[in-house]
């Protein structure tokens, strides 16, 4: 798409430099821990060494003797205000601080309030807690066995560890199609527990002003408005009314879904500030972040895929155990306990599909957030892309040709999937062909044959994913009843400069730039003249926040709609100024001209000035609008990734030699930012594919709870990503855009896993669960007699 505006104006399609960067490159951002208030107190948290244990006694004597320590807060203290439990987003409950027992290692047990960070830590170190260990349940399969210890003893009548059963699709048709199929493949796939590990951890400063009766909380949140409402609902009974709560989400050092939930630390800090009337700061450290904050994934999947002899895919059946830890604290739209997992038919024209998921309690931290993805879409994509590859290999067909054969065709859009989604637009073959041409697919296959003859292990993996983002239409999408619209409120000042505020919150995506570009596109006001603000609930319009790649599809659309309302009023003002009828005017970005008399025109700046100085009789002054955008459908970004790996047969190490990513996110707002999002997303796809996992031993001890053994990729392990795009606009989005922040994280792991299995297929290897560590590969090589 050629830009319609000049680079100076900076509308869609221009790689203008980011408005955020001047402060960040100077170290002048304001992240939560940078905020210091006079008289501020500090909170530190005592955490459980046990995965499951009764609390016999908490002795605060020594802690209270530490200079600077003011109080030790326990579950008993919060219970007086009925704040020791809180609701989760999925209609479950989780503890703020425990009264009876702890449910996972590193769970919050007590909090120490002190005059300094160091005193709080000193106090936390000497709070003496006596525990009586209970039997630990770690494996979700065992958690469902008869006789397994029941974890949620707080729930009357709860007799097992099963949380919910959810299923979708036509079971009978799927069973029939699988029974009648010429070929089926079946595979257990575990997608392990991982953590977003944003470089900034979570934290807050809660400040309850007793005089003004107002609570202000600076916090690391991706959804400040929803948080305000949650606080009002949860703490209304202790006097916190919504108009007296202000949530400020300042600069955020990466979110990726990990900053959607409400963590106990936030609530304790708020309670401590309400009780003391002092500002209270709580900042978690990295180990607390990895060990206690919401995890992602942890899906134990069994999938079956069916096809005809000629390679036509017919049906998919999936059963899954979802390990939710001790509470279902997933961040999903309310009606979807397994998120959007049922987009699992992916890019393929399957006639039947059925998916079942069972949620299970274990002695692990709660969560189920989307690690840079839209509500379980990564789990869906990994499953279908692994299964498709398995089937292609099983049929001895080339995985690229096999995909081409089974793709939904461009003319089938809008396409109704077997599981009920209406895909908006796509050209899957186009993206895959471009990826194949870019990487030189045929040559690589020839090279692989040659290398295999010499005993060298080289693999080529493809992932042709379809995402589902932009939640979502209010008919089906809500969180705690709040419909998932989003918002933009724009005011144009008399001199033609403007401010626009949004219900979302950037965490590095560059909203200050891209939103200004959307408004520049719609109004012709230069992007540099438009100030974008988000994250302050006292000033911004209500919105559900930034996650699940919803900012461009929902709030970006709201920006376009608000700008169009402004343009409608601007047309009336222009007609008044030019003394013509509205119908006699035509718009080009930045001005209205009289049809047939292009010299006779008024710029948007002229019109803005007139809106305050010379507006038509009977019209209200001013030039502003607000839009709450309820999307008619989700958007379905897609892409094809091809990865080439070389395996070290001595060490089992996987080396990603090349990785080509062709993405299609519809119309592009800022190509530089889109490419940056893809680079980052790919790296967060590489990470769980090869390195990252949080696991537990049978006692519930966390493995991977610090950066010593939770392996976030560095620049050395990360390949030089090769990116490109095709453009298939969304037909229902006002800008034809789809969202791109998460595509690469969703699509990349399967490409890498498929490449490794491709390298080992001739040895008899059919599947490897991610992360594909050197140890796993080396063990397989030994089993297959490749290495000694």
């Amino acid at each position: 798409m050629e830009p319609r505006t000049t680079f100076e104006v900076g509308g869609m399609g221009h790689s203008i430099k980011r408005k955020e960067d001047p402060r960040f490159i100077r170290g002048r951002g304001t992240y939560v821990d940078d905020v210091q208030l006079p008289g501020m107190l500090y909170l530190d948290i005592v955490r459980s060494p046990h995965a499951h244990a009764k609390i016999v006694k908490i002795d605060s004597t020594k802690a209270l003797a530490v200079p600077g320590v003011l109080a030790v807060i326990t579950g008993q203290d919060l219970a007086k205000y009925n704040l020791h439990w809180m609701p989760t987003l999925m209609s479950d409950t989780q503890m703020v601080l425990p009264v009876e027992k702890v449910m996972y290692q590193a769970q919050e047990v007590a909090a120490v309030l002190a005059t300094s960070r160091y005193a709080a830590a000193d106090g936390a170190a000497v709070v003496e807690v006596e525990y009586d260990p209970l039997p630990v349940v770690i494996d979700p399969h065992k958690a469902l066995l008869p006789g397994a210890p029941v974890l949620r003893t707080d729930k009357k009548d709860k007799k097992d560890n099963h949380i919910w059963h959810w299923e979708w699709g036509d079971r009978a048709a799927t069973d029939r199609a699988i029974a009648e199929a010429d070929v089926t493949v079946k595979q257990d796939i575990y997608i392990p527990r991982i953590h977003v590990a944003s470089i900034e951890t979570c934290g807050c400063i809660a400040h309850f002003d007793k005089v003004m009766d107002k609570l202000t909380v600076w916090m690391t949140t991706q959804a400040p408005h929803a948080i305000r409402t949650v606080f009002a609902l949860v703490a209304g009974h202790v006097g916190l009314a919504e108009h007296k709560i202000r949530i400020i989400s300042p600069d955020i050092g990466g979110g990726f879904g990990g900053k959607v939930p409400v963590y106990p630390g936030y609530v304790i800090a708020v309670a401590a500030s309400v009780l003391t009337g002092k500002p209270v700061k709580w900042i978690e450290d990295r180990m607390e972040n990895l060990q206690a904050d919401s995890f992602a994934r942890d899906y134990h999947i069994t999938a079956e895929l069916a096809a005809k002899k000629d390679g036509t895919l017919t049906a998919l059946r999936i059963k899954t155990l979802a390990d939710h830890g001790y509470a279902d604290a997933a961040a999903n739209p309310s009606k979807f306990p397994a998120g959007l997992f049922h987009v699992c038919t992916g890019s393929y024209d399957l006639k039947a599909a059925h998916v079942e998921v069972d949620g299970v309690y274990t002695n692990k931290p709660p969560g189920g957030i989307a690690y840079r993805c839209s509500f379980r879409v990564t789990e869906a994509v990994h499953t279908i892309e692994r299964m498709t590859d398995l089937m292609a290999h099983q049929l001895n067909m080339d995985p690229a040709a096999f995909r081409m054969k089974n793709f939904i065709k461009p003319e089938q859009f809008p396409y109704k999937s077997a599981l009920g989604w209406e895909y908006d637009s796509g050209n899957y073959a186009g993206a895959l062909q471009k990826a194949m041409d870019t990487i030189g697919y045929a040559d690589l296959r020839r090279e692989q044959v040659e290398k295999r003859k010499r005993g060298e292990l080289m693999g080529i993996g493809i992932s042709s994913f379809t995402e589902i983002v932009g939640a979502g239409p209010s008919k089906h999408f809500d969180i705690l009843g709040l419909k998932m619209f989003d918002s933009c409120e724009m005011r144009i000042h008399p001199t033609g400069k403007a401010i626009a505020r949004f219900g979302t919150k950037s965490q590095g995506q560059g909203h200050e730039t891209t939103y200004a570009q959307i408004l520049a596109e719609e109004l012709g006001i230069p992007a540099k003249d438009i100030q974008v603000e988000e994250g302050d609930t006292d000033t911004a319009p209500y919105g559900l926040g930034t996650y699940a790649s919803r900012s461009t599809p929902v709030a970006g659309a709201a920006a376009a709609m608000a700008a169009r309302k402004i343009r409608d009023k601007a047309r009336k003002i222009a007609a008044h100024l030019l003394e013509v009828a509205e119908d006699d005017l035509e718009w080009e970005p930045g001005k209205f001209s009289v049809k047939g008399a292009p010299g006779k025109s008024k710029t948007i700046q002229d019109i803005a000035f007139a809106a305050y100085t010379n507006h038509p009789p009977g019209m209200e002054a001013g030039l502003e609008a607000v839009s709450y955008y309820d999307p008619p459908n989700l958007t379905f970004p897609f892409g094809s990734y091809i990865c080439v790996v070389d395996l070290d047969s001595g060490t089992g190490e996987v080396k990603v030699r090349r990785f080509v990513a062709i993405d299609d996110c519809g119309n592009i707002i800022n190509p530089m930012i889109v490419q940056g999002q893809v680079h980052g997303g790919l790296t967060m796809g590489l990470a769980p594919a090869l390195f990252e996992e949080i696991s537990y031993d049978e006692h519930g001890n966390v493995q991977g709870g610090s950066f010593i053994d939770y392996l976030v990729p560095t620049a050395v392990e990360t390949p030089k990503w090769e990116t490109g795009h095709t453009i298939t606009p969304s037909p229902h989005h006002p800008l034809g855009a789809k969202g791109v922040g998460e595509s690469a994280t969703v699509g990349a792991p399967a490409a890498i896993a498929n490449a490794v299995v491709d390298a080992l297929w001739h040895l008899g290897v059919r599947h490897i669960d991610i992360p594909i560590t050197p140890a796993k590969v080396w063990k397989l090589l030994r089993e297959h007699g490749v290495t000694g």
Binding site: K17, R18, G27, Y31, D33, D34, A715
Partner: protein, 157 residues
């Protein structure tokens, strides 16, 4: 304990506990909040500053160890209103997103370019391997460091 140190050319004195971490002295006492904290095990590098010209992770240095030293933080890169070429390059090459790792990356890059003014891509990747970035995938950070190297060698600094 009394410490005297110079930060970005300015002299400071402070009474500190022996265990006070240098990063806390910088951030909380001197209010130089550009230096960030991302972990507690020296892995992430968000807290990287220069101590007598050498990059150190200030979360793993005690304030008292900086006694008598010359420190430089991200706030010291811009001189007389002119951005350092690294800062300009991070912006022009889109080498940052959330900005949290950026100060540490800039300081590591600054020390590295002093030693290796015309680095290869692999050399840059190795040099910044003690700094984690979760947003950018490193491609544009590497480009930015090389771009800055080119600018400096053409007399741009």
């Amino acid at each position: 304990m009394r410490v005297q140190l110079s930060v970005n050319g300015e002299k400071h004195e402070a009474d500190v506990e022996p265990r006070l971490l240098l990063v806390h002295l910088l951030r909380e006492d001197l209010r130089l909040t550009g230096t960030h904290i991302g972990c507690d095990t020296s892995h992430c590098g968000a807290c990287t500053i220069l101590m007598d010209g050498r990059p150190v992770k200030s979360c793993t240095v005690f304030a008292v160890q900086a006694n008598g030293k010359q420190l430089m933080t991200v706030e010291g890169l811009e001189q007389d209103g002119k951005l350092h070429p690294l800062q300009a390059s991070f912006m022009s090459e889109h080498g940052l997103q959330c900005g949290y790792c950026t100060p540490g990356m800039l300081m590591t890059g600054y020390a590295f370019l002093q030693k290796n003014p015309r680095p290869s891509e692999d050399e840059v990747r190795m040099a910044i391997s003690g700094n984690l970035c979760r947003c950018t995938g490193y491609v544009n950070i590497v480009k930015a460091v090389q771009h800055a190297a080119a600018t400096i060698s053409q007399g741009g600094a």
